[in-house]
Every structure is written in C-alpha cells, then in structure tokens.
C-alpha cells in the first residue's frame, strides 16, 4: 500500500459521505448526524486517552458547557448561533485550561479520578442553576444559519456536521504526524522519557487536553442547534463513560477509531433499543443499559486494542519512501576538547533512610569518555538521574558548561545539551525507528500546533527526517527506518536510544549500561561507535558492568561503592587498585 492508495481511499470515503444523504432515509440521516456529533468528542478522546494516555471520564461535561453556552447566547439572549459558537468554544477551552493547569500534574489514576470529579460537579451544575432552566433545560434554540439558509432539516445540518468531522480528521492526522504530535505520542512513555528529550511534558498534556475540550465544544454546539433543545441528561456522567467507550471500541489512539467507535456504539445502542423488547418483553429501558454495559465489559476483556488497530493489522503495510536529503538542522557550538564540561560537587541523594549517593564529586572534561562503575546498588543510576534532572539531589551542586543545573527542570537540562539513554530502555514501541529518533530533535526545532495542523512546517520536517535517518545510519540501524521500535531485539533497542540521543545534537551523552544484553560482536561495534563519537568531539559519560568493554574504551573511571566515591583514575590504575578488587571484582574469599 502506498500513500496514493491511502489518499484514494480517503477521497472515496469523503465521496460516500457526500452522497449518503441523497440515498439514506431521514431516520438514517438523523442517526448519521448523531454519529458525527459523537465522533468529534471521541476523536478528542482518542487524542487525549489513546495517544496521550490521559483517561478522561469528563468529556460530556465539556460538551455540555459549550451546548449550554450557545443556548444561553442564542435562545435566552437572542444572538446568532455563530456568536454562540465563539462563546461556547472560548468558554470550554477556558474552563479546560484552568482545569488542566490544576489537575494535569496529577499522577496516573489520580488524574482520571479528577476527571470524574469535575465531570460530576459540572454535570450537577447544569441541573441546578436557575438561569439554565434546571432539569427542564432550555428549549427553542434557533437553528444555525448560513447566510439566509437556516439549517433546519437533518439533511441540511448533515453537511455541516460531516464537513467539520472531515476537516478535523484531516487536521488531526496532520498534527499527529508533526513535531507536536510526536511529542503527544511520546507522553505514554512516561514523564522521565518525555522530559529527557527536552519536551515540557506538562505543556504537551495541557495542549492535548485543550484540543480534546475544543473538539467536545464543537460537538456541543452542533448538538444544541441540531436538537434545538437541551437538558442536563446528555451531559451527565453516564454519557462521559459512553464517549470513553466509543473511543476505546474504535481503538484508542486512532482518530479514525473515534468515528468508527461512535458509529458502532450508536448503531448498537439503536439496535439494542429495537431488538431487546422482542427478547424480554416489558423490560426494555433497564435491560438496555445492562446489555450495553455488559457488551462494553466483554469488549474490554477480549479486545482492548479496538476495531481500527485490529483491522489495520490485516491491511498490507504502508510502503514509504526513504527520507530525501534536506538542509541540515542548525548545530550547537561545542566546547574545545579538554575544557571543564560538567562538575559534580558533593552530590547527595537519599531515599527515606537510605543514602543512595553520598557526597560524590567528580568532573567531566570535554571530549573524553568517562565511566562510572561499581557493584549493583552502588548508586550509579541514581547519580545519572540526578545529573539529568530526573531526580533532585538533596545536597551538593552540579554545574554543566558553566551553568548551574542543580535545580533545573529535566527538560531544560536536556535542552542545555545533555542527552541520555536509560538502563531500562524507554522507547515508543509502536512508533517506527525513524520516528523514535525524530523525537530526539524536538528541542532543536520549533513548529507548533498550527504549523503542524496546516502543514506549513514541511521544510523543517524534511530536515528532521533526514537528520533522523543520518543518525540511524550512523549507529548502524539505517536499513529499516520504518520498522517498529518494539520489534527490535533488546540490544538494538539500546542502540536506537543512542541514535535518539544523538539526534538532539548533545554536548554530553549520558549512557546507562548501553552494552547490557549485547552479544560480543555487537559490543565491539558499540565500542567502535563510541570511539568515533569521541573523535567527533562528543563527551560521553557511561555506566557499564562489562569490565572488558569499559577498560578498553574509556579515558577515565570513577568507582562508586555504597553511594560513595571509592576512587578515580585511568583504567590501568583502577584495575590494580585493591579497594576496587575487594568491592567490585568479587574478592570475597
């Protein structure tokens, strides 16, 4: 399958949508309209939950905010629905921004629980505010008018709804394939990974959250002016779950899945309403929700992935052309070899009562390879996490290239020129090798949301792709740039992390056990690569267990034991040091 095939399929789908209202019955068109309106919310959730990993139970409340806002503007105050759209979108995004600023720093399920909380609170508000009609709702909402044409019939508003859905899908896929979209897709890899790439994770989360709320507000606006009447019911907690259900059924993480999920859930609900009374007489209403919840639970038990990813797997792979040469990205000015690059002074880090790093001081000079070694649990990884800002030191100072970074945020340290790999590999397994490496260039590039959505970022993208391919080739993984990272053996995944770090054009490369799990030949190749990087004046700090590997490669060694520095020196001196023998090389006898 090529890009052309996909474009052809998309064009065919749009054509089908355009012809549909002339073929379908009025009832089916109404059903389609509901599907379109729900799709918008589900697409937002696909971004927020599937891509960003933020499970929200509260989207229905955002739909409600916009619906009530536009109803208030148009039905109660007699203004145009278009003003209602403006007000609804602004209000929803404003509310989302405030909620996001407050809650998006929450961890894991705390965050989702907060969406339950504000979802409920806003939902209860609709039914209890005097000016919004309480539980009776607001009726006689005017239709949307295009010039003199009022969109009254379901056939008329159909085109507006599905037009918006199509445009949103198109822009959404553009965004996902841009710098910002890659950052969004990295969010599920955890804060430590995202921040280590120089990405401000909180900001990306906030942007994603507001985009999802924006889509919900479009949906709310359309809903209010299509049904011409609103009450609290369609915006309550139950509907919030239903939206989540749609995005999960369709395949969280897939924008198209939002549409498919909305369609499946809506049609299913409709047919449950149709057929259930035939099976169980007189018990339709209550059985409906039971059947529906049961189906959802079964679905989550058996097919967590969702429909679209399931179908996509059986389609032939998309063939893509290798990135073409493009103008290079700007590079950082490097220090002259031998200058002081990093200075750690009296670093200390505690976990409860345990002192993991105890008064450690050392220096790294530009252009050298320095190894930190020591037995398991000696505090090496903790030391590395403190250097890169993933952890804060309790005491002591760290200065990088003349700039104190002791209290800096992780993403700012990354931007300053420290790129790292992880002991437990942190890659995005469902992204290609190329995309994983492209993530590394985030801090060197600038395209934002609108540049990504409207594709005005093409030149920068081309440079990024080319740069990523070059780094892949440099580490020896250039053959299959479109392979998924999760399909690589563990050893090569470590190498891929190095390529990603190199794409950031770092001054200091921090490698946490890069040779673990590699075979002998692979280790030799890795050593070769690191030597060539040193020849390019890159400075490397490395934690490694394999003594043979370390001794033949590095310029200097720092030995840690029980969190403290034992000694420091050239490989030959370390090898013959008796304290090192005792602590590290197993001299228990």
């Amino acid at each position: 399958m090529t890009r052309l095939h996909i474009q052809f399929a998309a064009a065919a789908a749009v054509l089908c949508l355009a012809v549909a209202p002339f073929v379908l019955s009025p009832f089916s068109i109404t059903l389609m309209n509901y599907i379109g309106i729900y799709s918008l919310v589900a697409i937002g959730l696909a971004l927020l939950t599937g891509v960003g990993g933020i499970v929200s139970f509260g989207q229905a409340a955002f739909v409600g905010v916009a619906a009530y806002a536009t109803a208030w503007v148009s039905a109660l105050n007699g203004h145009s629905p278009w003003l209602g759209l403006l007000f609804g979108v602004a209000l929803t995004c404003g509310v989302a921004t405030i909620l996001g600023l407050v809650t998006l720093r929450l961890q894991g399920h705390f965050l989702s629980l907060s969406t339950v909380a504000w979802g409920l609170a806003i939902g209860f508000l609709f039914g209890n505010v005097e000016g919004l009609g309480r539980f009776n709702g607001i009726s006689s909402i005017p239709p949307i008018s295009l010039g003199s044409l009022a969109l009254v019939s379901s056939k008329q508003i159909y085109f507006l709804i599905w037009g918006i859905v199509t445009v949103i899908l198109f822009l959404g896929y553009n965004v996902l394939d841009s710098r910002l979209g890659r950052a969004m897709r990295a969010l599920r890899g955890g804060n430590t990974l995202v921040e280590s790439l120089g990405i401000n994770a909180f900001r990306i989360k906030l942007v994603t959250f507001v985009i999802a709320a924006f889509l919900a507000s479009l949906s709310g606006w359309l809903y209010a002016h299509m049904s011409r009447f609103i009450s609290p019911g369609p915006f309550d907690a139950g509907m919030g779950i239903e939206y989540l259900m749609m995005s999960m059924v369709g395949g969280a993480g897939s924008l198209l899945g939002g549409v498919v999920g909305a369609a499946v859930v809506t049609l299913l609900k409709n047919s449950v309403q149709d057929y259930l009374p035939l099976i169980a007489k007189g018990a339709s209403g209550q059985l409906e929700i039971v059947a529906f919840s049961a189906l959802f639970i079964l679905f989550l038990q058996w097919a967590r992935q969702g429909i679209v990813p399931f179908v996509a797997r059986s389609l032939p792979k998309t063939r893509r052309a290798r990135p073409q040469p493009a103008p290079p990205l700007p590079r950082r000015a490097q220090l002259a070899p031998g200058e002081l690059l990093l200075k750690v002074d009296g670093a200390e880090r505690r976990f409860g009562g345990l002192v993991a790093v105890n008064n450690v001081s050392f220096e790294v000079r530009s252009g050298e390879i320095l190894a930190v070694i020591g037995p398991n649990g000696a505090g090496k990884s903790t030391m590395f996490n403190c250097l890169t800002g993933a952890l804060r030191v309790n005491k002591g100072d760290i200065v990088f290239a003349g700039r104190p970074i002791t209290r800096e945020a992780q993403s700012r340290i990354a931007k300053a020129g420290i790129a790292r790999t992880f002991q437990h590999v942190k890659l995005r397994p469902r992204m290609s090798l190329l995309e994983n490496v492209m993530l590394g260039t985030y801090a060197r590039t600038r395209a934002g949301l609108f540049a990504g959505a409207f594709r005005v970022n093409r030149r920068e993208e081309a440079s990024v792709r080319h740069e990523a391919l070059m780094q892949l080739e440099r580490v020896g993984l250039g053959e299959k740039p479109f392979e998924l990272a999760g399909n690589l053996p563990l050893g090569n995944q470590r190498i891929l992390e190095i390529a990603r770090a190199l794409a950031a054009d770092p001054t200091l490369l921090v490698l946490d056990e890069p040779a673990a799990g590699l075979r002998r030949q692979e280790k030799l190749r890795l050593a070769e690569l690191l030597r060539s990087l040193r020849a390019d004046h890159l400075t490397i700090l490395i934690v490694e267990h394999d003594m043979e590997f370390v001794m033949s490669l590095v310029d200097r060694i720092v030995v840690l034991d029980f969190g403290s520095k034992l000694c420091e020196g050239a490989p030959a001196a370390i090898r013959s040091d008796e304290r090192v023998q005792e602590a590290y090389l197993g001299g228990v006898a």
């Binding site: 009562g353 037995p375 398991n376 649990g377 000696a378 397994p429 999760g486 399909n487 053996p489 563990l490 056990e513 673990a516 799990g517 590699l518 075979r519 267990h545 394999d546 043979e548 029980f562 023998q581 005792e582 602590a583 590290y584 090389l585 197993g586 001299g587 228990v588 006898a589």
Partner: protein
C-alpha cells in the same frame, strides 16, 4: 536416578526477546548449584520462569512431575521457593509477621512454631527485631529476613537470586556461610549470582549463562580455576 529438579530446553520470551534460550540444567538432591554470568545475561529471568512468574517453553520437572505449566502458588505448595532479587518483603509488616507468612503454604500448622524458633536461632538479629517493620531493616537484615521467610516454608528446592546484591563484603560472607549450612537441612539450592567467586566457592556445580545461553558448565571447583572465567568474572590477577 533422575534429578530432583531439571530444566530441559527452557526458553523464556520477555520484552519481545528470548531472554533465555534453550537452557538445560539440573539440581540433584541436597546439592548447591550455581548459575553465574554478567548483568543482563538472563539469570533473573531464568529463576522467574522456574518459579512461574514468567511463562516459558520447554520442560521443568520437579520430583518427577512436570511443573512447567503450574501456577506460582502450586509450585510453592510443592515446596519450591524463590528468594527474589528484590527480596519482595512485606515492608510495612513486622518481621514476625513476614516470617509467619512464609509458612502460609504449609497445611500442617503444628510444626510452624518450631520452624520459627529454628529461624530465630539461625538469625538472632531477626529475633531482636521481630516487632520492627521489615521496611526499617538494613540491607543485610533484609536479606536474612528474605532467607528466613523462605525457610519458614520448609523448602525442598530453594532458589536464590543474587543474595549478595548490594551488601557489604562482611555480610556477603555471612550470607554465603548460611547458604552453605542449609545443605545440612537437606535443602537443594539453585543459586544465581554475579559474585562468581563467592558462588563457586559455595556451590557443588556451576553453569555459566551469557546472553541467555549456557556457555559452560562443570563442577564448581573446576570452574573456579578456568582461565577464561578468571579473566571474565573472577577478577584475574
């Protein structure tokens, strides 16, 4: 006679890779067998598969019955026990409760008090601290508690994952003395260690695991003098 515990052609897939490939080894009644190898060689993965925390392909036979598809709990009830690398203590429960829970799998509760007394005799430090929460113990005490807790289950096969990990040399010596003394209880031991010298000095038989495969094996007293192993793991002088 067949071995007490044997693995044949065991392959464990973990994180999309075969972390352990076609490993075969056996432990005889009352023997201490060690598996040594570098970090990331798959030693921990092997033990996790042997206790059933990871699923594996191949055969695992314990006392004549195939335990390869059994749940962790079923294996523990057959008195196959693991002291994991991370110890996995119940950190906010007392030392005494931790030990008591060690005996959970025993149907016959009559001997529990006696076993507890034996464990306290073996590790007097634990007795001193029996009311203290496990999370407040020092590294060495934790390892003693992990060992003691496993002994409470009266294991027939005891698997130890890096018992020397993160401990000071003095305590490492103590732990290995304890391991050697377990032989008298008739416990068979499968010991996984990075501290190759200490492990080989304690064990009867040794296997060397590298990148998921057994590359060498033999009586421990032979391996300890093997020139290749000396340069790779034993800190050659």
């Amino acid at each position: 006679m067949s071995s007490m515990f044997s693995l044949s052609d065991v392959t464990v897939c973990y994180d999309n890779v075969d972390a352990v490939r076609n490993v075969s080894l056996s432990v005889e009644e009352g023997q201490i067998v060690t598996v040594i190898g570098p970090n990331g060689a798959g030693k921990t993965t092997l033990l996790m598969a042997a206790i059933g925390l990871l699923s594996s392909k191949g055969r695992m036979v314990f006392q004549g019955s195939d335990i390869g598809k059994m749940s962790v709990e079923d294996r523990v009830e057959r008195r196959v026990c693991l002291v994991p690398e991370k110890r996995e203590l119940f950190s906010d429960m007392s030392v005494a409760d931790n030990l008591l829970l060690g005996s959970y799998s025993l149907r016959d509760r009559s001997g529990v008090q006696k076993t507890l007394d034996d464990v306290y005799d073996r590790f007097p430090r634990l007795k001193e601290r029996q009311r203290q929460a496990a999370g407040t113990l020092s590294g060495g005490e934790r390892q003693m508690l992990a060992l003691g807790r496993a002994l409470m289950a009266k294991p027939k096969l005891l698997m130890l994952d890096e018992p020397s990990l993160g401990l000071a040399p003095l305590i490492v010596r103590e732990i290995f003395r304890t391991i050697a003394s377990l032989r008298e209880l008739g416990v068979s031991i499968l010991l996984v260690e990075q501290n190759a010298r200490a492990a080989l000095e304690t064990a009867d038989y040794g296997y060397v695991l590298e990148t998921g495969e057994i590359v060498q094996s033999g009586p421990a007293k032979d391996l300890i003098h093997d020139p290749r192993l000396i340069t790779a793991y034993l800190g050659g002088h």
